[in-house]
């Protein structure tokens, strides 16, 4: 009995140590990448947006995020922010391109998503999603941007951002959030990669819109008036973003 309990204790301690080792000490987010995240988060209050963070990990376990990639949401249901394998692969390719450009070892180091009208803390789904990513990469970090919040009494608006990872106290127990310090690192100018990411936003929205419209358009049972209604509806979004 004693031996069993000791083994369990050791296993638990080992897991804890592994988690601690892989846990990031801090996240440094370049201010131009921060700009892209903000732009993206503020682009819509109706749904959560998401993207991937690209950067490098330093010896002292600090994650340095140099740029972000805006992603298309395959599942637009509330609070579902999973990334498809194709997107992950595309992000890796982009990271390689960045690595070539900057001469630094870049890779996908985390993800971000927005919480419009919702508190900045990760939901249970978020914590579990984060834990899932950590199974592929234990040092993966998550960022959440909360926006479109207003205190009606003081007419104060708020934008918040937080950084977290997931940890499991014991095998089989619930995943819990771990707070990771995050700092925005000043930059003299906006980097090329971030400018490109910012410009991607309207293009991605247009693609999303086209896909949606195509599905609707293929509904042959719709009568012409409905089709006209849908058609006039359709393409405004990307133009509005560009405006």
């Amino acid at each position: 009995d004693w031996l069993c309990s000791q083994t369990l204790l050791h296993a638990g301690a080992e897991r804890e140590m592994k988690q601690l080792i892989m846990q990031r000490s801090a996240v440094h987010l370049e201010s131009d990448a921060f700009l892209v995240c903000m732009n993206h988060a503020l682009s819509t209050e109706k749904e959560e947006v998401m993207g991937l963070c690209i950067g490098e990990v330093e010896i002292n376990r600090i994650v340095h995020i140099h740029s972000v990639i805006i992603l298309r949401r395959s599942d637009k249901r509330k609070d579902r922010v999973e990334i498809s394998p194709e997107q992950l692969s595309a992000a890796s390719t982009e990271a390689e391109r960045l690595a070539d450009m900057t001469g630094k070892p870049m890779r996908v180091v985390g993800w971000y998503h927005s919480h419009p009208h919702i508190t900045v803390w990760p939901s249970h789904v978020d914590v579990r999603t984060q834990a899932m990513y950590q199974m592929l990469d234990q040092g993966f970090v998550g960022l959440i941007f909360s926006c479109f919040i207003e205190d009606k009494n003081t007419k104060t608006g708020r934008v918040l951002y937080t950084c977290f990872q997931s940890v499991q106290a014991q095998k089989g127990s619930e995943y819990e959030r771990v707070e990771i310090p995050v700092h925005v690192v000043p930059r003299d100018a906006i980097g090329k990669v971030c400018l490109e990411s910012a410009v991607e936003l309207p293009r991605i929205l247009c693609q999303e819109e086209q896909d949606t419209y195509r599905k609707i358009h293929n509904l042959s049972h719709l009568d012409p008036i409905t089709k006209i209604h849908n058609g006039s509806n359709r393409p405004n979004r990307p133009i509005r973003v560009l405006g």
């Binding site: 049972h221 009568d223 058609g231």
Partner: protein, 446 residues
């Protein structure tokens, strides 16, 4: 900017409601510039104000016309540093104002300020400046947007709070600021089902006129046209992006050159100071032959003092993990350190943890240099409650001893609580001056 249509005593008499909006891109841009700034950050808001009249009919009145004033913030013009258009007393300099704004002056509808760890209310100086701007710019209902940044103790969560004020009004001074986005612009959903209609006449009419909407493929003609508009816009944005990228690279290069020049100037100043010291000590040695044993420790103190001074030039200092020993500095003759001894210790106080950090990693307070501590007075007074700033213009050197450490919040951060900073972070130049007051008043180190 339109004047006020309603009668009465102008601004106060009118009970018009105000709605304000700021574009997401402008908002993010302000956040970007603020994040890049070591100190407070400010700038002007450009946009448009218009009045909309809504007529409503109720049981008691035939019609009530309500005046809705709509403020749209389209863009912002960030100031490169604080005190660029006003002085310590809060007196606005119109020439500087014009130089900053140039032809954008006519689109100014307000101004903004970003501060860390402060209350969401206008400071006395801000109120004074606001009144003058109102007059000089000729905008009766000039708005003021206040950003305040706070963080949790472990810096894992940060909040940016913002309030839009219209200080020229007596009541309802705070207005809700909306950020128009794709989620709130009225857009109807797609219809996935049609209302069934079996009328033959209906079908006939639709078939006849349907051709005007649909092309031979059955695709709506408008779709193609709109897509062309979108493509053209996207191409334009792409082109502008290219231009912005080039100008950003130029800006980076210039900033690098500026930093190098500043380093050279600092080096030159150091050398001149050293030479002067040597001359003076040589003279002292001549007149007091017994003080020769003091010359060596003086040299040490000189070097340690000079080493401490040099990084206070407005560039990022290198990582200096250990503070210079104060026993060296403080044990020397007063002539060397008369104006700097007490603020030195204040500058080294770790920042109070409870109010959070500026949100970016910086080396310890020791890197800030003596020069900074002397020039801090005025801007920090902003953060005190209104009405206490009647001695703005006093010589700050004497006041420094009594100022509490919270003044240093925006410049000095707690190295002990922050993770280690890699050299690459420090090597980046900073767009804003390290000290908000240093540049305006002239560095104390010269």
């Amino acid at each position: 900017v339109p004047g006020f249509a309603a009668g009465g005593s102008g601004i106060d008499g009118d009970v018009s409601i105000m709605a304000a909006s700021i574009s997401g891109y402008t908002f993010s841009s302000v956040c970007f510039h603020s994040a890049n700034s070591n100190s407070d950050h400010e700038g002007f808001l450009l946009g448009e104000v218009r009045q909309e009249e809504t007529v409503s009919i109720s049981d008691t009145q035939i019609s009530t016309a309500e005046l809705l004033q709509v403020v749209e913030i389209h863009n912002h013009d960030p100031c490169a540093q604080l005190f660029s258009f006003y002085d310590y007393a809060g007196k606005v300099n119109e020439d500087n104002l014009n130089r900053i704004l140039k032809d954008r002056r006519k689109s100014v509808i307000g101004w903004y300020r970003f501060r860390r760890n402060t209350q969401q209310q206008m400071s006395f100086r801000e109120q004074i400046i606001h009144k003058q701007l109102t007059q000089l710019l000729g905008v009766p209902d000039l708005v003021f947007l206040l950003f305040s940044f706070i963080s949790t103790a472990n810096s894992s969560t940060h909040a940016l709070e913002y309030v839009l004020f219209r200080p020229n009004r007596r009541y309802n001074q705070r207005i809700t600021l909306t950020i128009p986005n794709l989620g709130n612009t009225s857009q109807q959903e797609y219809k996935v089902s049609s209302v069934p209609n079996t009328s033959l006449n209906y079908a006939k009419v639709i078939k006849e006129h349907g051709a005007e909407f649909f092309d031979k493929d059955g695709v709506m003609k408008d779709i193609r046209t709109i897509f062309q508009v979108y493509s053209a816009l996207q191409d334009k944005v792409q082109a502008v992006c290219g231009e912005v990228e080039q100008s950003e690279r130029v800006k980076e290069k210039i900033q690098e050159d500026v930093n190098k020049l500043k380093q050279q100037i600092a080096l030159r100043k150091r050398k001149t100071a050293e030479e002067e010291r040597r001359l003076r000590e040589a003279q002292n040695a001549e007149s007091h032959p017994t003080s020769e044993e003091n010359s060596e420790p003086s040299e040490t103190s000189l070097l340690s003092r000079v080493a401490f001074h040099a990084p206070s030039a407005p560039e990022r200092p290198g990582t200096s993990p250990n503070p210079p020993s104060y026993s060296d500095l403080l044990s020397q003759e007063d002539s060397l350190l008369s104006s700097s001894s007490s603020p030195t210790s204040a500058a080294l106080l770790p920042r109070p943890q409870a109010v959070g950090s500026p949100g970016h990693p910086t080396p310890g307070p020791l890197g800030m240099g003596l020069g900074l501590s002397l020039g801090l007075g005025s801007d920090s007074l902003d953060r005190q409650a209104a009405g206490q700033e009647d001695d703005d213009d006093d010589d700050d050197d004497d006041d420094d001893d009594d100022e509490d450490s919270s003044e240093y919040e925006n410049l000095v951060s707690e190295a002990a609580h922050l993770p280690m900073v890699s050299a690459s972070v420090l090597a980046q130049g900073r767009p804003a001056a390290l000290s908000p007051d240093g540049d305006a008043r002239g560095s104390q180190t010269s």
